[in-house]
């Protein structure tokens, strides 16, 4: 079990893990029985004190095993190494915090610790917020952190004497061989955002899976958008041709029909519109003809099966029950016949 954790530690060492993860991993390595939020909690306070308990933590409220006493001796050299070693990757703030706290007096420590922690926490929070946003790779870590922080907050609310909150900062670790410039980090974040969206677009546009590379995909997307727009133009031309303009107003007639007859299903009106149209195109819109055809079609429609072949309603409804169309749509269909 220990070996696995050790290997894990080593593996994680070079990736963008934050201080917290490493501390936790270290502690786990030392004390496999530890629960992770507690472990993190202890690790921080041990870092602060240099391992000396002055009744500082106020362990009355917590049910601590004696392990804590044990860890300080052996844990200390291990844990104190880690900030030094982590400096090389840009972990400056943590170190500063450490060296400062060593100078404090025992009694004052608690207060100073609280104040400094608050300040540092604020700064760190700001920085972490900025850097978090900037680095997509630490996003998952952030979520874990937030969870851990909430758990710790609940812990601290349980034990009133323990007032210190975790300094829960996330360092954006610049990867090996890359600039730590804030601009380039922001740039990297931006590029990751763009690539994320490109992947999303790739799923949307058909035939984009085979193409790799941003340029090709973007060209494909542009072509797709252009083709869609051309399709709309073409279809609108078709529509313009298909619908000749009648001279009369069908709304009144329809309204009369609807009002007088018993409550009907919606199917009749699209059917009527269809047949009304075909009649129209043949007869060039005589009102008498329309009315008569309307009457003719209305009555038999009542017995018509709702799933009868009606291209308009069927293509809109996709075979669903047309009863979902409310009367508003009914009127619309009616006015379409105008």
């Amino acid at each position: 079990m220990n070996r696995a954790i050790e290997a894990d530690l080593l593996l994680n060492y070079n990736t963008d893990m934050s201080v917290l993860e490493r501390q936790r991993a270290h502690l786990k390595y030392l004390n496999p029985g530890f629960d992770s939020p507690l472990a993190g909690f202890f690790s921080d306070s041990s870092m602060i004190n240099g391992g000396v308990i002055d009744g500082f933590l106020g362990t009355d409220g917590l049910n601590l095993p004696m392990i804590y006493g044990d860890t300080t001796v052996e844990g200390d050299p291990r844990l104190s190494i880690s900030p030094e070693t982590m400096i090389g990757t840009g972990n400056f703030k943590k170190r500063k915090f450490d060296t400062e706290t060593k100078d404090c007096d025992g009694k004052k420590k608690k207060i100073m610790m609280m104040n400094r922690e608050d300040e540092v926490e604020e700064e760190e929070d700001e920085k972490s917020k900025l850097t978090e946003q900037n680095n997509g790779s630490t996003r998952s870590i952030k979520k874990m952190k937030n969870k851990a922080k909430k758990e710790e907050n609940s812990y601290s609310s349980d034990s009133s004497k323990v007032t210190i909150q975790k300094t829960d900062y996330i360092h954006v670790r610049a990867r090996r061989g890359q600039a730590t410039d804030s601009h380039s980090i922001a740039e990297r974040v931006r590029r990751e955002k763009i690539s994320e969206r490109m992947k999303f677009l790739q799923d949307l546009v058909p035939g984009c899976d085979k193409i790799t590379g941003k340029a090709g995909m973007l060209d494909e997307i542009i072509n797709y958008v252009q083709s869609l727009q051309r399709q709309i133009e073409f279809l609108s031309m078709k529509l313009a041709v298909v619908n000749p303009r009648p001279d009369f107003d069908m709304d009144d007639i329809f309204a009369k029909e609807v009002a007088s007859s018993t409550p009907m299903t919606v199917v009749p009106s699209p059917e009527m519109v269809n047949s009304g149209y075909s009649h129209e195109m043949v007869n060039s819109g005589y009102s008498n003809e329309m009315v008569s055809s309307g009457y003719l079609h209305f009555n038999p429609m009542q017995q018509v099966d709702t799933t009868s072949s009606d291209p308009l309603s069927s293509c809109f409804n996709n075979g669903q029950a047309p009863s979902m169309w409310d009367s508003h749509v009914q009127n619309l269909y009616g006015s379409l016949g105008v």
Partner: protein, 160 residues
């Protein structure tokens, strides 16, 4: 239609909404008494196309999407009694310009493609590339929906 990605929300309403809006606009067109003379075919086509886009913008969420907002604004230039645009504090403008200044440093391949995309997607001129892509995704969904609706309509209304 739920989107697969949680961070990018491109939900588009069902076909019915698009259909309703389009039919409404078409019926409005008809009452304008345009279609009598045969030599106005071109004009008619353009009107129908415009109605299609406007109804699509309305159906897709009105002014809540950047591209639809720009489309509607373009369509009602001057005589805007139709759409109400929400008054938002335009803090964004200076930010965009500061980002644009450094746009040469961004990957030039991506940027030139983004430029072409901006010409296609309405309202693309004022957007950053990442935002542009989001808008493009939503726009593509809406366009395909509108195409389906119009296809159905043409099929339904064409003489047998």
């Amino acid at each position: 239609m739920a989107s697969a990605d949680k961070t990018i929300n491109t939900d588009v309403p069902e076909k019915d909404v698009f259909a309703i809006h389009f039919l409404q606009s078409l019926s409005n067109l008809r009452t304008q008494n345009l279609f009598n003379s045969p030599d106005t075919t071109n004009y008619r086509v353009r009107k129908i196309k415009k109605a299609a886009y406007v109804s699509m913008a309305r159906a897709a969420g009105g002014t809540s999407r950047l591209w639809s907002r720009a489309l509607l604004r373009r369509a009602t230039k001057g005589n805007n009694k139709i759409v109400r645009f929400p008054r938002k504090k335009r803090k964004v403008t200076w930010k965009i310009s500061s980002k644009r200044r450094r746009s040469d440093q961004r990957a030039p391949v991506v940027e030139e493609a983004a430029e072409r995309l901006r010409n296609l997607v309405p309202g693309g001129g004022g957007m950053e590339t990442s935002k542009l892509m989001e808008e493009t995704a939503h726009y593509i969904k809406c366009l395909s929906m509108q195409v389906k609706v119009m296809q159905c309509l043409v099929d339904g209304l064409s003489p047998k």
